[in-house]
């Protein structure tokens, strides 16, 4: 993406039509019929891209005006989160704190107050940044993504939702409608590690871990990483090296080293590939230790 407007971020340098649909069907209709129409949620990615000259939409469709999309509800063995729910909503939710401790931790440490208050779950996930803390955590939790489009609803596992940098399976006219996350169960522990230049910055490396320990051995393991590949990824090498093995320091140390087999970091404005390759296994080890220490 070439920077074409670097000096004036005071205004949006593009003319577009604005729509504020009240229902999902209304929004889908506009997105399928109007040329170059983009959904607008929090605006922290989209409006910045327009200001910097990366995007020139002909229309913006506000999804926050759609009724009934901002909710966090108890769905039996899962928690269901509507797509216009903000990260601040997550942080302040009793349901999230009790049943989704990993998501609570991510939301509590998320960026700044203002960004947290404006960022929607759907907007953050759909904009598909490979450095999304939310996406990294939800990948470790095997969340399911609910999509609404011209043919109605469909659900995909989050691992299938991402195709590459800023690319998802969302087709034209489709919107992310909700996210379903399984509640944490007994015997489960979680870890969340990130490293950034300053506290509220986008991270150079992100790790989220979920483990389940039974009889002192790893019966379930999920290790996900952000900022080290074209999309958020799971480290299958580490997971396979831990499954069925005892939750001991030496097993964890050895398995963490395999992280490098699964990541493909690049040099970018935040960090270098070399640094990320050095640091990712360390954060993976710390995240696993953190998760193991949580299992009562």
């Amino acid at each position: 993406m070439k920077l074409t407007n670097y000096t004036n971020t005071r205004v949006l340098p593009v003319e577009f039509d604005y729509y504020a649909p009240k229902t999902l069907d209304e929004a889908v209709k506009i997105l399928t019929s109007v040329d170059n129409a983009y959904p607008l949620a929090g605006g922290l990615d989209l409006l910045v891209f327009i200001k910097l000259g990366f995007l020139r939409p002909r229309a913006l469709v506000n999804v926050k005006s759609i009724q009934g999309l901002r909710y966090i509800s108890d769905d039996g063995d899962s928690v269901k989160i509507g797509s216009t729910t903000t990260v601040l909503d997550l942080e302040r939710s009793e349901l999230v704190r009790r049943h989704l401790p990993l998501l609570y931790r991510v939301s509590r440490d998320f960026s700044s107050m203002q960004v947290r208050s404006m960022t929607t779950v759907g907007g953050n996930l759909a904009s598909a940044s490979p450095a999304s803390d939310l996406a990294t955590a939800l990948l470790a939790l095997d969340a399911r993504i609910g999509i609404y489009g011209p043919s109605g609803y469909r659900e995909v596992p989050i691992d299938s939702f991402y195709l590459g940098p800023r690319k998802t399976v969302l087709a034209r006219g489709e919107l992310l409608a909700y996210v379903k996350v399984r509640k944490s169960a007994a015997g489960e522990g979680f870890g969340y590690q990130r490293i950034a230049r300053i506290y509220e910055d986008i991270a150079k490396v992100i790790v989220a871990a979920r483990v389940r320990i039974e009889d002192g051995k790893f019966s379930e393991v999920a290790i996900s990483l952000g900022s080290v590949a074209p999309r958020v990824i799971r480290s299958r090498s580490v997971e396979q090296a831990l499954l069925g093995r005892p939750a001991s320091q030496s097993v964890i140390d050895e398995a963490s080293r395999l992280t490098v087999n699964d990541i493909s970091p690049i040099d970018d404005m935040r960090s270098t590939a070399e640094y990320r390759r050095d640091v990712a296994p360390v954060l993976v080890r710390r995240a696993i230790l953190e998760a193991v220490s949580e299992v009562v």
């Binding site: 005071r10 205004v11 039509d17 910045v48 913006l60 506000n62 107050m113 960004v115 404006m118 509220e200």
Partner: protein, 157 residues
Amino acid sequence: MGERTIRFRVNGRPVEVTISDNMLLLNVLRNKLGLTGTKYACGIGECGACTVLIDGEPALSCLVLAADVDGKEVTTIEGIENGFQEEMVRNSGVQCGYCTPGFVVLSEFMPKYFGDRDPTEDDVRKYFAGNVCRCTGYLPIVKSGLNFMKKIRSSRK
């Protein structure tokens, strides 16, 4: 791209403004409503100088479409009178003053955010992580935040 009329409330008073779809809330506040207390600095959501409250929740007005606040309640620095401002004056938390409106507007949300919790210095620093100050080195601002919350809690008892 046409024009539209939006109706919303600013600091408790109803307003009606004619805008074009690509106008930002920040510029409508400053240029159409004459409320120049809210500042433009980075324009990309990283400095907090443009902070306002929309329906009581913190927002960066440089990244909000004016059309998006139709029917909503906007609070700017001009509409705030709280103990944090008093503390800022007492502790010399204002030098050039450019970041100050952003800090004060965000302070208004502190009692709601912290509730009955007693914020530590670390909590207050993290709370204001999205507000950049070039002059004070943050110490008097953090002190003002801590004192403000102490006063809130003691007045609740």
